[in-house]
């Protein structure tokens, strides 16, 4: 069953998105190892994408079928990537 549509505070979500944008750019100027910088900027990207999908695209209140339509192609992408990765890694 579809859940009741949740209306989050859209402006508060926007503040979070802008805050995370500032964090992702800010960490590139910090004197920290590249691996940690990369982890932080992509972690913030994943959180930002999640905030948009869950709140602005209302995935929070969607049916399972919609989740499947969103997640299956993402899973296909990761499987293809993992399968092809050794071709680069062991070159």
């Amino acid at each position: 069953m579809a859940r009741e549509r949740v209306h989050p505070n859209y402006v508060a979500i926007w503040f979070w998105l802008v805050g995370l944008l500032i964090v992702s750019v800010g960490v590139t100027y910090l004197p920290i190892p590249t691996r940690i910088t990369l982890f932080l900027i992509f972690a913030t990207a994943v959180v930002k994408a999640g905030l948009v999908a869950l709140n602005y695209m209302h995935l929070k209140s969607e049916r399972l079928l919609i989740y499947a339509m969103a997640i299956v192609p993402v899973a296909i992408f990761f499987v293809l990537w993992v399968v092809l990765y050794p071709d680069i890694a062991i070159r």
Binding site: L17, K48, V52, A53, N55, Y56, I76, F77
Partner: protein, 198 residues
């Protein structure tokens, strides 16, 4: 008997699954788009891992301009969802206002991107300047085409609303919004991949 109609954004619309058919169609389309952009991003990551000199090339991109454009697109997602919220409240004027803001912010993104491309080409980095630049122009170009498509759709919705033609099709604002937010999500990943990963 299966339900053939359902309420969406205050109006009755067709359904075969309990989900409005229009929304199902948009999600199917977005699923294909995930594969399109996902494939491109995946090949970019692998090519970058398997090549040398790409971080030096990426360092020529302007982080402040990329950050500004990300801010513009994130803000346009807010105005788009506010247009949808206005539809749900039956606030016609609010819907038109927020749709117009979304269109203007989309155009702003494209103008900034065009300026950025111009300065990069002017600095001696056209599409043919190397692997990184080929990916950069392909990915940002494909994304910009999607932004342009969204601007066109939102403009049609805005003009239809302005002329009183939207009528019982206001749920289309939600469908256009799903597409617009997806384009935003794609940029959320393109920005760190291209501008920050060096």
């Amino acid at each position: 008997m299966a339900k053939t109609h359902i309420m969406a954004a205050g109006v009755e619309t067709r359904t075969a699954t309990g989900i409005p058919t229009g929304k199902m169609g948009v999600w199917w389309f977005l699923a294909s788009e995930i594969v399109l952009f996902g494939g491109l991003i995946g090949v970019y990551i692998m090519s970058r891992l398997g090549s040398t000199g790409w971080p030096e090339m990426a360092a020529h991109l302007s982080v402040p301009i990329g950050t500004l454009n990300t801010f513009v697109l994130l803000t346009s997602s807010l105005t788009m969802v506010l247009a949808f919220a206005a539809v749900e409240k039956g606030d016609q004027k609010g819907m038109r206002t927020w749709l117009l803001w979304t269109v203007l912010l989309g155009l702003t993104f494209l103008v900034i991107k065009a300026f950025e491309w111009g300065s990069e080409i002017g600095a001696g980095f056209p599409l043919t300047a190397g692997g990184f630049w080929s990916f950069y122009y392909t990915m940002t170009g494909l994304h910009a085409l999607h932004v342009l498509g969204g601007v066109v759709v939102n403009s049609i919705l805005f003009l239809s609303a302005l002329m009183g033609l939207l009528g019982r099709n206001e749920h289309r604002v939600e469908l256009a919004g799903l597409y617009w937010h997806f384009v935003d999500v794609v940029w959320i990943f393109l920005f760190p991949l291209l501008y920050l990963s060096w």
